[in-house]
Amino acid sequence: MANFFSKAEVTSSGRPVLLRSEVECHLLSSVDLEPEDHHNFSPLKSGLLILTTHRLLWLPSSSASTPTSAAAIPLPAISHIFSSKKSLKSMFHSPRIRFQVLVSPDGRVFDPGSGSGSGSGLGSRSVVLTAVVRGKGDCDGFLGKFWDSWRARAWETNETSGSGSSSVSGSGTGTGTGTGTGGGLYSSDGSVRMVGVAGILRKEQELWESTDKSLQDAFQDLNALMSKAKEMVMLAEKMRQKLLSGTNSQASATNDEDMGSKEEMQDWLLSVGIISPVTKESAGALYHQQLSRQLADFVRTPLERAGGMINLIDVYCLFNRARGTELISPDDMLQACSLWEKFDVPVMLRKFDSGVMVIQNKSHSDEEVFVRIKSLVTKPEALRSGISPSDAAMTLGIAPAMAKEHLLTAESTGLLCRDVSPDGFRFYINLFPEIDPRDVYLVKDYGICDTWIKAVSTSGLR
């Protein structure tokens, strides 16, 4: 049966891996996928049906099955979508969505991407599939979106823009095509051709105007925004390309500051862009579940950069910035994080005794942090005057609030102890366990006490 469908890739937390410029449109839970008359595959039971602009994806529910059993049907393979019949009988049934799929001669779903025998085998055979919606999802809404996506033929526009990537900007401004045709003052479309610096300036301005326009269009209303989403991503990618080519060609001319800002810009552009955000509209009741999985995928990079632990508030800001629009509320964030316990994801939510909440890798161990803290507090300077949370933050490369949590945890295990004085709140290596109450003057050789006494005595304290 796995051979019948195209393969769908899934991330480790169970979110589908989307194609280039593919956008998720709708989700339905508890959906069975059944063949109508042929026996090409055994029915897929109770999974998550995801509609994107390019494909129809079926994912097995939660972690019950291996992620390899996810199935995909490319929308171009669909030859017909049956409108739902309103009959008395259908009122008592679970809602059904029926559609016809083209099958290639080797008995698999026709895949335009594979190219094998696609020309000759097209339409030779087709199979009717039925999606039985056993959940409470909005079936009519799904059908509507299904029609829209199928008709929009997003996969075709993607192919054409891919073949002529350089002409994307040219078609927008109209100047790119004009310059090459004639030698006169007028371009082919009648506008005055500009040359030299003025021409470049005008070209720049036109570019900005068109950018401005697409931004304005984008914010007109939410539906327009969804359709503009792809253009926005393309714009961002184009800017990145331009930045890349700019640095290559004029590397010698640009000064360091310029390079720095360009790198920053590139970094920023890369960090922006969850192309297909999970929204309440698209996911409905599954919202928190899907958000949770998406978040798990997202936090990996920032987590790595932050050394395995990151403040929940920081993640909230990063995540919403990446989403751009369709922002989530703090409450949704917290719910999504607390759902991780139920999924097999490599990250977890942790609450410190002080109430501070962080996201950390499951593999993250406090031991590792303690080793670093210990090496920090046993330096001569720290032995003499202790360390403050900000000292630890600088050495460990984490936020001061986070460093304080680590220090408090280290204190509770007996590694450190505190010193509260007018100078502030500082931490010292814990010497108490090594002191022998029967002989308080005894100092063990090579112990931490010995090291401490030596460090203190060299400072001229006595």
Binding site: G386, E411, S412, G414, C417, R418, D419, V420, S421, P422, R426, Y428, N430, L431, F432, P433, I435, P437, V440, Y441, V443, C449, W452, I453, V456, L461, R462
Partner: protein, 179 residues
């Protein structure tokens, strides 16, 4: 090594966390233990019987590292001494504390030894004589707190080792030993 008069202070007296009441249980237990021992040691060598928690006391602050015990910490350490029977509160507000580097019954034993050593088995002495007489000079009894001495004598009286009677002056009492 830092000294207070002729008293040798341990190294950790210069360890700043020693002056902050530690919140973690295990660490705190050890800290309280060390403070109890230091207070008793110091009081024994300096013959100090009463400490006022709100008054100046050499151990309460360390000018070298500029640290001072908070009132909360002082009360915690002395409460620990009280619960072990090595100190007693002299008032309800817990402002004054009687330090018992020897427990009362140990003091009673010391008195008995003193009596036997000096052959006072059947003699009569005033309480003041025990505290500051020539015979007690050089012993631990010299300069003993009057309250502690009276309570030790009462224990011995209950055991029938002596009898306390009113002396000639109102503020002095006599003791008739019958060991």
């Amino acid at each position: 090594m830092q000294k207070l008069g002729d008293f040798k202070l341990p190294h950790f007296f210069n360890y700043p966390p020693y002056f902050t009441l530690q919140p973690v249980r295990e660490t705190r237990e050890k800290q309280v233990q060390l403070w109890k021992d230091l207070i008793l040691d110091y009081c024994r060598t300096q013959k100090i019987f009463i400490i006022g928690l709100e008054e100046e006391f050499p151990l309460f602050s360390n000018p070298v590292i500029e640290r001072t015990l908070s009132h909360e910490a002082r009360e915690a350490f002395f409460s620990a001494l009280v619960s072990e029977g090595r100190a007693e509160w002299l008032d309800k507000g817990h402002r004054k504390c009687l330090i018992l580097w020897h427990r009362i019954q140990d003091w009673a034993g010391i008195i008995l030894n003193f009596v036997k050593d000096n052959g006072f088995e059947d003699s009569v002495m005033t309480v003041e004589e025990i505290r500051s007489g020539i015979e007690s000079r050089g012993t631990e009894l010299h300069g003993i707190d009057r309250t502690i001495l009276m309570r030790a004598l009462k224990i011995l009286e209950q055991k029938g080792k002596l009898a306390i009677f009113k002396g000639t002056s109102a503020d002095d009492e006599g003791v008739k030993f019958s060991v």
